[in-house]
Symmetry: C2
Subunit: 492 residues, 2 copies
Amino acid sequence: MHVDAIVKDLLGRQTEIINRLCSFLRLPSVSTDPAFAGGMRAAQTFLTDWLNSMGLRDVQLLDGGGHPAVYGAWTGAPGKPTLLIYGHYDVQPPDPQEDWITPPFEPTIRDGRLYARGASDDKGSTAIALETIAAFLRGRGSCPVNVKVFLEGEEEINSPSLRTIVGLYGDLLQADGMISTDDSRMHSTVPTINVALRGIVEFEFSLRTADKDLHSGLYGGAVRNAVHEMARVIASLHDEDGAIAVPGLLPPVSSVSQSARDETAKFPFDESNFVKDVGARINGEPGFSTRERLTLRPSLDINGVWGGYIGNGSKTVIPSTAHAKLSLRTVPGQDTRQVLDSLKAHLLKVCAPDVKLLIDDLGTGSRAYYLPTGHPLLIAAKRVLSGAGQEPVLVRLGASIPITAIFEELLGIQTLMFGFALSDEDIHAPNEFFRLASLADGLSAWPRLLEQVGELSADEFRSIAAVAADKAQQFHPRVAPDSGATEPGSAS
Amino acid sequence: MHVDAIVKDLLGRQTEIINRLCSFLRLPSVSTDPAFAGGMRAAQTFLTDWLNSMGLRDVQLLDGGGHPAVYGAWTGAPGKPTLLIYGHYDVQPPDPQEDWITPPFEPTIRDGRLYARGASDDKGSTAIALETIAAFLRGRGSCPVNVKVFLEGEEEINSPSLRTIVGLYGDLLQADGMISTDDSRMHSTVPTINVALRGIVEFEFSLRTADKDLHSGLYGGAVRNAVHEMARVIASLHDEDGAIAVPGLLPPVSSVSQSARDETAKFPFDESNFVKDVGARINGEPGFSTRERLTLRPSLDINGVWGGYIGNGSKTVIPSTAHAKLSLRTVPGQDTRQVLDSLKAHLLKVCAPDVKLLIDDLGTGSRAYYLPTGHPLLIAAKRVLSGAGQEPVLVRLGASIPITAIFEELLGIQTLMFGFALSDEDIHAPNEFFRLASLADGLSAWPRLLEQVGELSADEFRSIAAVAADKAQQFHPRVAPDSGATEPGSAS
């Protein structure tokens, strides 16, 4: 059965496919809240049943001590490449529930959009991948490549047991590459492929200036205030333009290759709409375009700050402690340990000597990721998405997806991100939705992608991947895996 | 009956007086919590019965729409000064109840201390004043001065209806001066008189940099972060030493009189213990001692700050809003409106033009207060407390008590603070207590104070007070009452 027929079959069965996706969306698989344990188990059962019914083997739960991953494989194509297919079945909490127009776990179609928690992140794209495999097995009795489906259950809670699972089931997970469904497209009409991700390091830090909050009538004017100290520290992190001012965090401007800047310029990025939509104010490192700042340069943000009395009305205390959550987005080539050390050294330096600084490293985060230009998965994706004379634009994401770095580090495999969500679908927010048009786009592209990869033998795939990796190494030398900060982290 | 006999009578009846105080303390008169409405009513009944039984006239509840004040007068000394006697019968909530060694509304004596909610703030000192009046009326059939007892029921909740009550019952409350029992002594052996209070202005402000929190993976490096902007604003409020850096907030150093500095130096202040006890770090305006910074100079504190994600774990948002609670302690002579304007102008100036600043004036606060050196109430208090060759030390408080400013503004009368609490008696906290030794101190001093004031005729009292006020005006010119910020506020 020709791949065009597989696609036609899938597109002809969209009602059935949407219904199955709705069944999946009805299961409240919220990983962060024990109250939803039943929803998590229901989703596991739903997926194992589905994987079994489509003909995958070895279907099982991979338990790493937390919510298990769902696994199933089809390895009936000897000599062909083996691909891990990554998705996740857990979803964000639905709060605030009252802001949903229709309930988060009652999928509803309005204006060509399927509204439900998890529709865009990541059940919609996960379903596209699974329907594709099922269609090949049903229509052709085989897949163009060997596939190992790996559906994580803790993506929304920073993947706490992902490293354990990969360690325990490393043999089962051996593959030549990975395709991840957990990805969003940058543009609804211009085809794009995400080839890079920023990394992330994050920690909390606290300042202490006294044993307890003090009465400002009794101490005001004579003692340090932890919030004032915190303000001074945070203000030292950036210069007036908004550029990072911490020594050691900004790679030299010369490290940004012209080809990366050229690729970035190709992406149709509407700066005025970018900020207008959200009422934001442009601010950042001089010498770079907004899009370059977002993807080719690190960024440093305080994600939250608190200290003193924050209830209703007033309370005239001098806060004794202040707390901040900090995250740094790194770019490929940056050493996680070195940037962490630079950050901590800076905080120590700018704190007054009598102020106590406590750094609480959450141990989360991930290195930046880069899929080399000549990688066979990237070549295949480019072919699939090239249509009507339009080459797909290679884009880099400002966000971080730790699984790419984890699978690269632990299994030596690289990831093509090939999801069909769009970036405006209110993931993690009320009224999350997935476009039905995206479902059709995905059901057209996924079979062709697997078919394209299947034109290579496993050996060919591996040698092309190795050459591409060597070449990339010249641009972004990778540092040795650093145990400290390359822990599982939120795909965030 | 000589005043010495009155004192002897009071000291001889301490058991009876403690028992009556215990009956008062057993009534859970928590003003903030409707669950204690019965306790409030019981305290009102207890006090009206007591005032009636001791021979006061016009005993009544003064209703301003909230918890009423209890009032009673004895005006049988024509030609003598008339004094308002201020106390409050409401108390703080007892929470956390589990931290009390004995229940908060079961008064218990341990080691010479009477433990109960309200014992120190302010039922103990209120009882001293009432027992004194009763002893005069019982022993002598008259008081040395005319007295109008005014016992507030909303002191612990920012006196929301105090202005209304004073407005409605202004005629009833006419007096030549006021003595407040709501006061704490700075030292257990060195006699002190509190002659000044700092004022307070407070507001919340918020900065907005976007319509909603943004994902740092999608916007990081290219847009403003409200927490960064807030840090810059807060950091601009003080210089490196901790001195206020906002133009218009610090009165010139020359405005601090040498006599005030001399008086301040007389108070035995142990700076190392002051900070050691609470683990605080000294910091403040150069050129002033710690004690001077606390009482003679304004202080500016951020009492609380919050913005972005402050829950457990991490969330990689770029906060779109950040909030801060700010309070400024002012010193006598500062114009509340002018300092508010200076503060707001500074915030506007240091905010980036594209950042939205919102100021939410809580309408609370009070002006600084100063009892002039030559005021007849102060002269009387000094005489009473001078003993064993030890002149009482005039101290200034860093804290603020709005009623002093309110009675000065609305009734033109000035207040002597003459309470017998000590500042370590865990008011507003579990295991509040009042020292029985303080009860005896108060029962010795109060009759002598009234007697001393009664040596003046009303006319003499008024003319001495007027001269003192004129003189003070030269040092601390008072501004016209400013309606905006001189609202009832917490005695804080």
